[in-house]
Subunit: 384 residues, 2 copies
């Protein structure tokens, strides 16, 4: 029995969700009948969105609901914490839930005061639409999108354990944590501490290995709520959670701002895990590698230079293999250039895998990202 997809989104069992978007502003709600065991991982940026400061103080109480607004990050504004608390109170009134058990999250532009009237109005509308169907989850996923072009919603089951997730995130995504919001629901009957440990491990091996543009957001948030309906062991849960968070990270990479190609980079044969991660991240973060991929240009020298900027390795031992559309070809094998023409064809694909083997050890790491395109520049030159 292995992991299988299910059609629930975050509306697992008795989780309900909804969302509404009017112009640039959206509100999403995630609600349960009772207080859930809740875990969270937040940005390591020293400047944090107000919602993070509010959530961290009460997440140990457990959340029964989360209210999320898009269009305004509620970061770097004097009224931030007060307004984040007000969002919880407004949602509490609509949902008849104690605001101490309501989480909050914001995404959008930094430095602008929240329009609380607008949020009140949208919260009311969203609460009237709450549904435990996959459509409810979809509504929430839509409402939190900003520059995202694709809705991000997944749900999987393994040994009766279910995990559903919605997310937003497309630009300003870098280790550690992406500019992203991700909300996960599960039925796993595990205590808060176990959930928290599992979430931290999963985030470290998924979202923290995702690079869109190397920038780090003030608002990155992953929250996991459990209704505790399914007894399970933590190992099985970790297995499923790792899978779900990695799939979500890949969805984000595929929707990188302006991206035309998805990049999966695996660095094998490194001496240490840290080397493997640092080298793989260096490749997927390199503007020169990313533009070369956009241009379908097999410039393996940039891959080599990127790795060398972060770790020591022996080029004469190194293999570089490219894969796409079921085809693969070595560009470099033991430091010798092999086949640029075939690689040029492979680079025409939409999903590109770069596999580098340093042949110097047993450690490896996989990271995800996308190409760098003129469209990325256009999107971010104009975003207001």
């Amino acid at each position: 029995m292995d992991i299988k997809g299910i059609n629930s989104g975050i509306c697992i069992d008795n989780f309900r969700a909804s969302g509404i978007k009017e112009e640039k502003y959206g509100i999403a709600l995630i609600v349960n009948d009772k207080i859930c065991e809740t875990a969270g991982v937040f940005t390591t940026n020293s400047i944090k969105g107000a919602h993070i400061l509010v959530d961290r103080k009460k997440i140990e109480n457990g959340f029964q609901a989360i209210v999320i607004n898009s269009g305004n990050a509620n970061a770097c504004v004097k009224s931030g914490i007060r307004d984040a608390k007000k969002m919880c109170e407004m949602a509490g009134r609509e949902l008849s839930i104690d605001p101490r058990h309501i989480g909050v999250a914001s995404t959008g532009i930094i430095g602008r005061k929240l329009n609380l009237e607008k949020i009140k109005d949208l919260t009311k509308k969203a609460s009237s639409r709450l549904s435990d169907s996959p459509e409810g989850s979809k509504g929430a996923a839509k409402a939190i999108m900003t520059t995202d072009t694709k809705l991000k919603q997944i749900s999987f089951e393994y040994k009766g354990i279910k995990i559903g997730g919605i997310a937003k995130g497309a630009g300003m995504i870098a280790p550690d944590l992406a500019t992203m919001l991700c909300f996960l629901t599960t039925n796993a009957a595990l205590n808060r501490k176990t959930l928290q440990n599992a979430l931290e491990r999963a985030v470290n091996d998924s979202f923290n290995l995702l690079v869109i543009d190397g920038d780090m957001s003030t608002n990155d948030t992953v929250i996991l709520m459990s209704n505790g309906k399914k007894s399970c062991n933590s190992k099985d849960f970790q297995y499923l959670l790792n899978y779900v968070t990695r799939e979500m990270a890949k969805l984000m990479a595929r929707d990188g701002e302006g991206a035309t190609k998805f990049l999966e980079v695996e660095l094998q044969g490194a001496k240490t895990v840290n080397d493997a991660r640092a080298g793989a991240k260096a490749i997927v973060s390199s503007s020169l590698v990313k533009t070369a991929v956009f241009g379908e240009n097999p410039n393996w020298g940039r891959i080599t230079a990127a790795i060398g900027s972060k770790i020591k390795f022996d080029f004469e031992k190194t293999d570089i293999l490219l894969e796409s559309m079921g085809e693969s070809a070595y560009v470099v094998k033991k430091g010798r250039v092999i086949d640029l023409d075939k690689v040029r064809d492979i680079l025409k694909g939409r999903d590109i895998r770069i596999i580098v083997n340093l042949n110097s050890g047993k450690e490896k790491a996989m990271v995800w990202g996308c190409d760098l395109t003129p469209k990325y520049v256009e999107i971010n030159a104009g975003y207001n």
Copy 2:
């Protein structure tokens, strides 16, 4: 008496230079009548161009000449070291100089074997053009250009000490050291060790604070040759050398690949120098800040997020001032947004200064860079 510009380029006193370029390939020569005290700083990338491995072994002997080729980096090729040595031998024959006293440098695409026939031919032609006039220096500066759009040549004098420099470098420029070659000549009568220390200090405060695209090259090289004609104290020399290397770093930032705007970022009021440098570099490295500058979009939130990704600071104490064309305006003053309209006007300038004051200490750092444009992507998607 302060630093004044002089019109010599690297052809100070008895230094001669020349260059020739045919299609993508160029050769430059820098020659003196006798062996010079010589210092060098090279890339910290673990993958190094062959010329660096060759130069490091003999730079202590002192160079009497340097031969530089453009169009091919002579990096990551099995024949690299042998071919770099052959370049020295060819130049030695043309110039009647012992190859042990000839330095070598290469810039261009990684992973291709040098065309030694072409290099021999161009070296011969270049040697017939050697001149001690500023035109000789200019010829050399032109010959080493790759994606550069502007010739980079400067020369200054201070208390009788002269330093001249030529450089190439436009993309793949990041701390530490840029993808760049820089050749400096001086008349300062200082021994090799003093020159080496001075050069390392100057590079640390100039080229290592320059960010074009965050990528680090395999071939970065700065070489300083002295003819020893002018007695001087090392403090005066350091003062002039710092000035010259900073001016050269700024020239490179102005010619960043695809750049439409020059960026100077100063972070003031930091608790430590390391904080000041890390925060300033984070700003000038941020793709989101760079695209916002391209779009003339006063998105100070991205500046704040970039700093916060690297250091701890208190936004409520922070000032952000923008300057251009003799005008300046605060975007943020003590954590409050001040004047977005005036800042929008300021961003229309070609040379933008971003001055952030954390008001938390006395340390500061200045770094240089440029905007990120669709043109950058185009240049690097197609470079072959």
